[in-house]
Point group: C2
Chain length 333, copies 2
DNA sequence: TTGAAAGCGCTAACAA
DNA sequence: TTGTTAGCGCTTTCAA
């Protein structure tokens, strides 16, 4: 990618104007005579001029780029959210830098110092990545522009859902179906320190207590948010001394694993074990899985708009948006 | 993200050396006295110095960034490949810019001029995005560094699989099971002009002919590479005058849709209709779907390494890597 | 081994 | 409305 590159000076010379005028004309800034703007545009097109982003970033102090950090990328939820963000960024020609911080080492090095995205992007969207209070404070006071998805802090705008209520709704649905021994497939967070699984667990327990049911720790089993983990956790629950008649899986993928495990034992849902998931994964409908729908594309879209607000306005107010979830009753309950 | 930023000059001053020395010391270049290097490192750490990427890019003419373009990323295959690429780039601290060119307009504007990634990245990975011969030639001669996944050209390194053979293998498997009326769920490419679906179709037909079976266009139906499309295409086939007893779906997601359609009619696989997919999607095993496994993470990894080669070496030779596919026989056949 | 200095290509005062 | 010019922060010859 070398070749002789045509610069703003070449355009200026060819158009018979100064580089400043070329810069203004091409960026649609005011105070350029229409005829001049036209001529500059024509010459630029003729020469296939493309402004050098590194130079303009250095001079302007802006990158026109947003960084997005996720725990992993090859999971339905995350790639969907990123897709939503990308769509809104593309519309305003902002680039998207992607970082995955799957393990603790990645996470630490990503946030070390001012953060790996520092100066490479104007702002950061953190999707389901934990941000401790101290770090949040430090970043906020160092002027970082951040939007968090599912991880509200007082320092930055956020997009999230009412995890507690959603988990309670799922659990209540099982209770409404007459179940009294209800298990839960939990998971350590994909991102250390991330609280969502805990909040969902609290919502689950809360619903049980509210219904006068006992909270039995032996009915809580980690499925690690994966299909395999869900199958194993389901197996553990079914092999227990007093197996549940219904199970709430904190993710659809775990629920899929659970369904597979149930079927492999010649049992059926909901007859032998009712199952409800969380997400409304692309395949949930096909599997007939009852679940809590969360509008992933909307989450991405709102996060994208929020992050644009942080870089476009001066001092955009911090906003905390809550998206609605919806109980989807299908055939597994 | 303003605040006063510490620059290389601050470090130089504090360490009592020149900026050139700081630059060398921090980038591990030779010809720096060990003691000097140590001191510079210490001072830089003390000051929390981070070099400004825009400035270094401008000066060095390299971006340390790779762009990846996919048709969409909220699809299992693409997010998996991107994850594979990301992993190898992260290991060498190269940033990843992500672009989706889902529709023709995006595609055109992305490739207009020297391409949107021009000067924002050192090289580009194109995953399942069509690149016409003329464009390829133009880009190659303009010095673009590109790696294609599933879209071999003579101009750039590529990673792909033998689509023709893989499709034939899937079809042959159905033939081996004794089927003689075999349908296929095809799809327009997600990326206009992309030939993979056509090549798979040819492989399918080739297998039929080789087995002495007739090629019946009425048994070829587009499912658009989506679950819904797969279900609809399957319905169309089953409602035809002479329905197939087996079906090859060009993607697992279409196969899932087909399975759902079959089940919804009270039919079963493989008894009433055998189904084989293509991908070995995360959920294929759970669904008991026979399929052609393609090693997505490996594809991403190879593509990542290939693209690094294009920017690290001077004149890395063009390589065309073929990854192996594998027939996974499960319960739908 | 180290430093001086000339850019890299652009933006944004400020002047005209 | 347009031009002049001083940087933006770094890399990289070339000299010392």
């Amino acid at each position: 990618m070398n070749q002789h590159t045509v610069t703003i000076e070449d355009v200026a010379a060819a158009a018979g104007v100064s580089v400043a005028t070329v810069s203004r004309a091409l960026r649609d800034l005011p105070n350029v005579a229409p005829s001049t703007r036209e001529k500059v545009r024509a010459v630029a097109a003729e020469l296939s001029y493309v402004s050098n982003p590194s130079a303009s970033r250095l001079a302007a102090g802006r990158t026109g780029t947003v960084a997005v950090v996720v725990p992993v990328f090859d999971a339905w939820y995350f790639s969907s959210v990123v897709a939503g963000i990308e769509a809104v960024l593309k519309a305003v020609n902002v680039d998207l830098l992607l970082y995955a911080v799957g393990n603790e080492a990645d996470r630490v090095s990503f946030f070390a110092g001012r953060g790996a995205w520092w100066q490479r992007s104007d702002a950061l969207v953190m999707v389901d990545v934990a941000l401790g209070e101290e770090s949040a404070q430090r970043l906020a006071s160092s002027g970082a522009r951040i939007v968090t998805v599912s991880g509200e802090t007082e320092h930055f705008s956020s997009v999230s859902l009412d995890e507690h209520a959603a988990a309670a709704t799922a659990t209540q649905h099982l209770i409404d179906r007459g179940h009294t021994r209800i298990g839960v497939l939990t998971g350590e967070s994909l991102s250390a320190g991330f609280r969502v699984p805990l909040v969902r667990l609290e919502g689950f327990r809360h619903a049980l207590r509210t219904a006068g049911l006992e909270v039995d720790p032996s009915l809580e089993c980690s499925g690690n948010f994966s299909m395999e983990g869900g199958a194993e956790a389901m197996a553990a629950l079914l092999d227990g001394p007093n197996p549940p008649t219904a199970v709430f899986a904190m993710s659809d993928e775990m629920a899929f694993g659970a369904i597979a495990e149930v079927r492999s034992r010649g049992l059926a849902s909901p007859q032998d074990v009712a199952i409800i998931g969380f997400d409304d994964h692309q395949m949930a409908e096909l599997m007939g899985l009852s679940t809590i729908r969360q509008p992933v594309e909307t989450v991405g879209e709102l996060a994208g708009k929020a992050v644009l607000a942080t870089i476009q306005k001066t001092a955009a107010p911090i906003s905390h948006q809550i998206v609605e979830t919806q109980l989807m009753v299908r055939s597994t309950t």
